[in-house]
Subunit: 226 residues, 2 copies
Amino acid sequence: MSIKYYSNEPTYHVAVDCIIFGYDEGRLQVLFQHRHIEPYNGELTPLGGFVQEDETLDQAAYRVLTERTGIWDLYLEQLEAFGDIGRDPGGRVISVAYFALLNKDKYDNFYLRKYSCQWIDITKLPTLYFDHMKMMKKAIHRLQDKIGFTPIALNLLPEEFTMGQLQKVYETILGETIDKRNFRKRVNEMPYFVKTDKIDRKSSKRGAALYKFDSKLYHELKNFHL
Amino acid sequence: MSIKYYSNEPTYHVAVDCIIFGYDEGRLQVLFQHRHIEPYNGELTPLGGFVQEDETLDQAAYRVLTERTGIWDLYLEQLEAFGDIGRDPGGRVISVAYFALLNKDKYDNFYLRKYSCQWIDITKLPTLYFDHMKMMKKAIHRLQDKIGFTPIALNLLPEEFTMGQLQKVYETILGETIDKRNFRKRVNEMPYFVKTDKIDRKSSKRGAALYKFDSKLYHELKNFHL
DNA sequence: TCAAAAGTGTTAAGTTTACACCCATGA
DNA sequence: TCATGGGTGTAAACTTAACACTTTTGA
């Protein structure tokens, strides 16, 4: 253990709170959990937990996520730290908010029940406590902002997806309709969206080409321009 | 005092670190302080301090800034929380990084000496310890990003400024030259940049019109579009 | 008289938006 | 046979980028 030089200074609990987005047929949803601790025992809250001594902030967020959803493969990014004095009536807690995107298909109902979690449509959010609504808004803005210049929205979809599904995700997140021809033109200009030779027959009678994302190529091209 | 529900959970020191930008004749600078505590006693570090029990994170950052620079009127914004385990060999410290912009003209040398601070050109950064270089890069990116769609760069300049000065600030921050006519055209399209009837004779022989920023009008126009 | 920054419009290039019809299929 | 989502190109509107000369004045 290292020597402690700062022992006169106060210390605080440090938590992470994860705003986790999922997507399902034109609805953008957030994962909530029923709180199992006072205060506000039983109320809905984003998934969170205290940062432990053997983990970084990112690791704490990742642990909370994987532990309670069983999903290892997700997108995770820090939003901001929240540290108002009375933000948590249970004690002074500094909370670092994260936002995460996952593909609901990978999410086993076993975990949903085990941790009494539920998906809530972002158009039907309940009353939130503490500063959770601020985190929520920040997360939504970040998501809306970032899908414009990064492919993170793909984390909400299966490996292979149709243009229709992809467009619908964008429309749902942005809350506006997008011209089909313009959307497809833009996507097709990005070489890391590759059309497979598979046809999806679930989403339409005619069948739609399935695309996948070539993340290796994506990163090569991005790094090239730095 | 509120009841403590979380007493089984670990606690940590929480600090703020402020990346403070100043501008001087075509050079973008950052304010550093000599550390007066182990470890790395004497080395250069951004201005920082521990969050006290009676203050929020923002207040802690603001306190550190005003206390050590004597300036009350500055731009302050949270960057991100840093919490890697070994980031500070002096003990586990979660640090919330901030970035700030101030007008060096308001900065009295008295404070500079009192706190053994110094301005360093961002093109001549010294070796930085902990994760201070990460904070630095994040701050510079944030600044470069935000000046494109907000008027925060004005916090680096006096109340009244010439178009030439304004353009130079942008060029310095972005590290590229900007076409003079296009720049002036864009600025003049924003009604909250108002030309005063004063002429600055310091910056050129001919003299240049002084402009000021009408922040009331700016906020009115911004809110109107929400 | 000349060096140094201020000031001023137009055109071309590029990007974004708007828009309508045929196709393949399962019900 | 028809309702449903899949698939395709072009022209107009708008935005951004490129570009050069005259003005004023202090040294």
